[in-house]
Structure formats: C-alpha cells, structure tokens
C-alpha cells in the first residue's frame, strides 16, 4: 500500500517536474509545441474538409438525372411528344423540356459564348428532355430505359448527369487516402521533433544523469523525467493543434454558411467533434511518448559515470 502511494507520489513529482522544465525554457518549448501543433492540425483540418466533401457527395447519391437530346432535325412537337411518353413511364418522377430556342437564348446571354452565338445563322442545338427518375428506381430498370431511349429514332444521345458525382466520389476517395499519407508523415515528423528535442535535453542534463547514476539511480528513475517531457509535448502540441483547428474553422465559417444556404439548408457542415478532439490528443500523446522513448533508448544508456 505504502509502496503504491510512494510510486504515485514519485510519478506525480516527475510529471510536475517535467512541466517545470518546459516552463523554465519558454522559448524553446513554445517553438517545439508550435511545430507539433501545426503538424497535428494539418491532417486533422484536411480530414474535416474531406469528410464534409463526402457528406455533401453522399447527398447527391440518389440524384440520377439524365438528359435526352433529340436528333438535329426533330421538331419541337416531336420533342413534346417524347417528353409526354417519358412522363408516363413508371420510373420517371418528372421531366422538363428545354427547347433548342431556349438553349440558344441561354447561351446568348452567356458572356463567353454570346458573341459566337450571335454570329451563327442557324440554331445548331437540339431539344433536350431532362428526366428525373423516381427516388427508389431500380438501377437495372433505369439502365434498360436509357438503352431503349438511345435506340429511339428521335433520340440522338442519352447523357447521364450523374457522371460527375461518381467522379467526385472517386476524387474524394483519393483525397482521403492522401490525408492519411500526409497524417502518417507528419506524425513521423512529430516523433522526430520530440526525439531530437529530448536528445538535446539529455545532453544538457548530462552531469545530472551521471551523478544520479553514481548515486544509484535506476534506469527507470533517469528515464522518467524525459518520458514525462515527451508526454507534455504531446499534450500541449495537441492543445495547440485544436486551437489552430478551431481558429481555421472560425475563419471558414462565413463562406461555409453561404454554401449551406445555397444548398437550401439541407446540409449540416461537420466541425470538430469529440472523436476528432480525442484523436488529436491521443495521436499527440502517443507521438510525444514515442519520440521521448526513441531518444531515451538511444542516448541514456550511453551515459555512464566517469570518475
């Protein structure tokens, strides 16, 4: 019992002592902590952005609109007729007809193409029927529908408007992987930074370590202050990373609100949740301890008292 109490007291003393050592060198500690914080905040911030992208893309998943373009010679009446047939299909929720004239008018008001369009004698554009399938439409039946449409003598091509969603998803998957790679590299950097800082610390306290070993200090006794130093670097680095994240999210809050409004409020942006906070701390702590261990394992045993 007494031994356990003593053990706890000793650890508490080491823990506070290591904190004291950091405070005594405010400049060096702050710089190290800042670097750790930035290294931890970067992948976390990127991860939040990618998560939001995925949440947004998830909202598009059930949009499977496609556009049906008529052959060049088709009349507006024929297009109306096509639209009427599609409207009657069980798979179709609603349709919209964009006549060639409307499409041209739209292009004309477009800054970039306006001049080109005015110069045109004939309207080269087809009529377009934009089809929105019912939400729970069977993908296979939809496939059959679009294939049959493509065979229709009136129809030139059928284009799926959802291609971009698939591309976005593929891109987001790539981004997610990239974030993991960046995170792994930066955690490695944190381990190296803490390891190097503690290596210097060990060198500066060489006399103390030598004398302690002469007086019968165990390896654990000599090691502990440095491990606690790594512990504090991890904790403070994590705190600083969370501050940076909170600041960045705050700076982004204006544009994000505008974006949400554009989506009609149907999308709630993801911020720093409990899991992110816990993860930043856990990774910071683990990297701090790992860095301290690597330095201690390599440099402490080499210090043997010389008399």
């Amino acid at each position: 019992m007494n031994a356990i109490v003593n053990y706890c007291i000793r650890h508490a003393q080491n823990c506070i002592g290591a904190l004291g050592n950091l405070v005594r060198q405010p400049m060096a500690s702050t710089l190290t902590i800042a670097v750790i914080g930035i290294a931890l905040a970067m992948p976390s911030g990127l991860n939040i952005i990618v998560s939001n992208g995925r949440a947004l893309a998830g909202g598009f998943e059930d949009i499977r609109d496609f556009s049906v373009y008529t052959k060049p010679g088709a009349t507006l009446a024929q297009a109306e007729n096509l639209r009427g047939r599609l409207d009657d299909d069980d798979l179709v929720a609603n349709t919209r007809l964009i006549s060639a004239e409307q499409a041209l008018e739209e292009l004309r008001t477009d800054n970039e193409f306006g001049d080109v369009v005015i110069a045109l004698a004939d309207n080269p554009l087809p009529h377009t029927v934009v089809v929105r399938p019912i939400p729970k439409a069977d993908p296979e039946k939809l496939q059959i529908l679009t294939e049959r449409l493509a065979q229709d003598p009136l129809v030139d091509i059928v284009r799926l408007d959802t291609e971009w969603v698939r591309r976005l998803n593929a891109f987001l998957e790539l981004a997610r992987r990239a974030v993991w790679i960046v995170a792994t590299m930066l955690v490695g950097a944190v381990i190296i930074i803490v390891g190097n800082t503690i290596r210097l610390d060990i060198q500066n306290r060489r006399a103390e370590i030598e004398v302690s070993k002469l007086l019968g200090a165990s390896d654990g006794f000599v090691r502990r202050p440095f491990l606690y130093t790594g512990f504090w670097y991890g904790i403070f680095g994590g705190c600083f990373a969370l501050l940076l994240l909170a600041g960045s999210l705050w700076a982004l809050s204006g544009p994000v609100e505008r974006l949400v409004r554009l989506y009609g409020g149907g999308f709630t942006p993801l911020g720093m949740d409990g899991a992110t906070i816990a993860l930043v701390f856990a990774v910071g702590l683990a990297a701090g301890l790992a860095g301290a261990w690597s330095a201690v394992a390599r440099h402490l045993a080499a210090i043997q008292p010389k008399v």
Partner: protein, 226 residues
C-alpha cells in the same frame, strides 16, 4: 564487510592496474588506502562501487560477490554505498539542499523524512545556514563538506572516498578526517584513498599500501606472499 580475493583489474589490453589484490575490512573499520600516483587506488574504489568490473578474482561487499552482478542490480548496490569524490561532483544548478537530497530522492524517501535527514547531514558538516546557496557560492572546503553530507545522508553501510582532502589545507583536511572517524564509530565501514601521508600520521589508523597495482603492505606490515 569488504573482501578482495586475488583481484586483478586490467583496463582493455593495457597493463594491469591491480594485480592479485587480497584484503579484508571488517564492519565499522576505517581504512586508509595509500600508494604512489597510478598505484591503483582509484581503480580499487571503482571496483567496490561497480564503476568498473574486476578482470579476475572476487570482490565481496556484505558477503555478496558483486563482480558478476547483473547490470540491473547495480543501482541497488550503489545505493548502499556512499561515495565522496575529489572533484565532489555537485550539481551547479541545484541548491546545497537539493544536492544533498538527491540520494534520498533516488532511494524514494518521503518529503518529510528527507527534510529532517538533509538538515541533520548539513548540521553534521557544519553548513546548516548554507542550504539555499548553490555550490558555486561555497569555498572548495565547503563544497567538499557538501559532498560528504550527500554521501552520508542516505545512511550507507559503506563509505568510500577518493582523495577527499586533495584540495584542502591541512587544518580543513584534519577536520574532514575527524568527520570520517565519527562515522566509523557509528558502524559505517570506510575506505579512504589518499596520498597525504603527513595527514595520515596525524590521524592514525589502519592502512593498505598499494605499489604498482599490488598490495605492498597492510597496517605497515609487508603482506606475506600468497
């Protein structure tokens, strides 16, 4: 308490610093270790503190053969031995009090007990009013006494000292030797290396004389060949 049996120590491939050394020191004895420079006095003390290992022979402390002690048991062994160094090895960035408290912190004593014992040790060496100062603020003799207080604060069974009076004037040296004599009177086994023969004549006591790594005499008598 301390027993050397045919101990030889060779540093690397060099010549032998100690050759076939045998002697025994009883509990509570005060022994002086003398001999010319390079005779092997420091080497002998290092073997007792396990700073070096014997090449051949046995070193027994408290009945235990420490020559082959596993590395992980060395700290516990050193905690039973007080050491005084010629260059006193005090930590410059710590107060006198903290320097003396270090062995007790290492041994895991509680704060309250530590305070009392550090003060008692300071009182013993006559430096009670200097506890808040750093070693740099003390004279050489005072630093040496702080080193002695640190060596005794954890109440070791054995105390070894390497040239503890090397930097002191004759009067201070005598004071330090008288301090040591008082420890041996309370049962601490002491081995003190010095080449200050004039001082030894004033202090008296049993001696082990080393000559070129071999024991030339104990107690003034030539050791019989073994």
């Amino acid at each position: 308490m301390i027993r050397f049996e045919n101990v030889t120590k060779r540093y690397g491939k060099g010549r032998e610093a100690l050759r076939d050394v045998s002697f025994e020191i009883d509990t509570g004895e005060l022994i002086f270790l003398t001999g010319h420079s390079g005779a092997g006095k420091s080497t002998l003390l290092k073997l007792i503190a396990l700073i070096e290992r014997p090449t051949r022979g046995q070193v027994l402390v408290g009945g235990r053969n420490i020559g082959r002690l596993a590395a992980r048991h060395i700290p516990a062994h050193r905690r039973q031995i007080g050491m005084v160094f010629q260059d006193h090895k005090l930590l410059e960035d710590r107060s006198v009090f903290e320097n003396i408290a270090l062995p007790m912190i290492i041994a895991g004593y509680r704060q309250r007990e530590m305070r009392g014992r550090v003060r008692a040790a300071l009182d013993y060496v006559g430096l009670l009013d200097r506890e808040k100062q750093t070693p740099a603020m003390l004279s050489t003799g005072e630093q040496q006494r702080v080193g002695i207080a640190r060596a005794i604060v954890a109440r070791p069974k054995v105390l070894i000292a390497d040239e503890p009076t090397g930097n002191l004037d004759p009067d201070l040296s005598l004071d330090v030797m008288n301090l040591f004599r008082r420890f041996s009177e309370v049962g601490v086994t002491m081995l003190i290396a010095t080449h200050d023969l004039g001082l030894l004549d004033r202090v008296g006591g049993r001696r082990i004389v080393l000559d070129d790594g071999a024991v030339a005499a104990t107690d003034g008598q030539t050791q019989p060949a073994t």
